[in-house]
Amino acid sequence: MLLQRGNKMRNISPSFTFQLAVTLLACAFLLVPAVMSIMAGFTANYFKGISSGLTIKWIIEVWELYADSIGRSIILAIACLFFTLIIGIPAAYALNQMKPRFARILEEFVSLPLSIPGLALALALLQLYGTMSGFRLSSWFILTGHVLYTLPFMIRSVLAIFTAIDLKALEEGASSLGASSWQRFKDIAVPNALPGILAGSLTVVTLSIGEFNLTWMLHTPLTKTLPVGLADSYASMRLEIASAYTLVFFIMIVPLLVALQWLSTRTQKIGESR
């Protein structure tokens, strides 16, 4: 047994070695700049290098300069989530009840913002509401853009789980027991769709926090968000601050992405186990 094992170990094929090398190289290509950038955020003086000493003063400075942008982004993301939930879940529920052909047309329609570039969407919003200055100057304006942009993701995610759990059959079961459509929605549809709703929520929050194109067009100097602030710091601050900012951005967005990945594999399993 042991001998066989040893043999196998030694039998690593050249093509495997090659694949491994390429994979590692690609990882390095992606990770090295990120690591460099993060390191820069901790370095006292980037041009002198690490020898100048490590510090967290840049991070503190970022916090002082951009705390309100970061806070705004978080509030925007939560508000955006709130609206996509209260619009998206009932919308997906309604779509799921419609005749398949009709539902498909409507789904295409709500998915339109996906295929329109953020810039075009922003331009349309500006043309429509640009003159309503109270609205235009508030964070509500950006929120509108974010909701428009993220809503399709929520609807799709919830619709997918409705199909995966065969909601129609479950609802027929509930209606045979006397449940009205509101009771079916709250007792059956929503609880059984939770994994999909959670996945949709994470997508919405991640997109809202990271969204740049649309937000950049819609923002005012007083309504900057996290990524807009990032661009701003790149353009006008010293490199160490920009790097520290990148680090803050990473810390906020990476856990969301990881959770999202984990959830989406779990949701897929629910679909398969049916």
């Binding site: 065969d166 059959a169 479950l170 027929e172 045979s176 027991l177």
Partner: protein
Amino acid sequence: MSGTQIQLKSCSKTFPDGTRALSPTSINVSPGEILALLGPSGCGKTTMLRIIAGLESPDETGKVFFDDSDVTSIPIEKRSVGMVFQSYALFPNMSVRENIGYGLKIKKISTEKIRDRVDEVMALCQLEGLGERNIKALSGGQRQRVALARAVAPQPKILLLDEPLSALDAGLRDQLRDELAILLRSLSITTVFVTHDQAEAMAIADRVAVMQKGHVLQIDDPRKLYTAPDNAFVARFVGAANELSGRLNNNLFSLQGGSLQLPEGISAVSDDKIYVRQEAIKLIPPSESELKGKVLSSTFLGNSQKIVLSDVCERLVNVITDPFSKYEIGQEVGLLIQVEDILVLRDD
């Protein structure tokens, strides 16, 4: 018997894509009766059941009555029907107990009363001790029982079951069939259940409606259906009758393997075909019979054996006989058929 009467009045169903799933059908189900809808897959059984339930509406002319009230336009949630779905449609977000109690909760019955009723129904369906289980942690047979318990818990007027046993393995199915028959009878609710298995229909139902291609061909009690089928399809589908084709000449029916004397009066054999049940054919020495065949195979079935004969007519003939007589393959045998066992039927 107490209970609700179901009446369908010329209910047909044409789906939007043009599929005619059900031709105009009128049936009555008496209070407390158990009716089986029996037929091959795709013949419209589920469609008929869903029309009774209120999950589909019949084409314009159709009407559905529960007792004297017209429920045609009343949605399922107000019809007070209990339904067991083919897929069971149990709620994955609820425990066994919550599933069974859901209909009672909807009716706004007090928590204690719900608990008592759920306990009662769980005992009835042999689900004791499973109350807190998750639906995913149940076996197929247990799921079937939960589905039934959930349907009967709110004491519906009418119970509808769509192939309740088809999702189970063969062994379990036989056991559950007998249990279900006893349980349904003890409930004395007007019941309609769908099946494609004639043994299941016979075991459970008071009357069986045999369906084909959206038509109800015959509704009768199982014995009548077996001994006096209205037409060839029913005879073949219920109890697998042999079809013998030949030529009729003055009461003498001539076939490939000889001839049969038919009684006076059945001169009008349609298409020159007669039907005989498998167990109505006796095998005798060839010298004693005018009708002969050749043994093609014999299969021992424990309490009986099945002999397949060739050379009697164009089709093979199946005979069920005692298990211990020995028949060699290729052996010539004589067939003895009593006149009263011959079925003369319209061919549909």
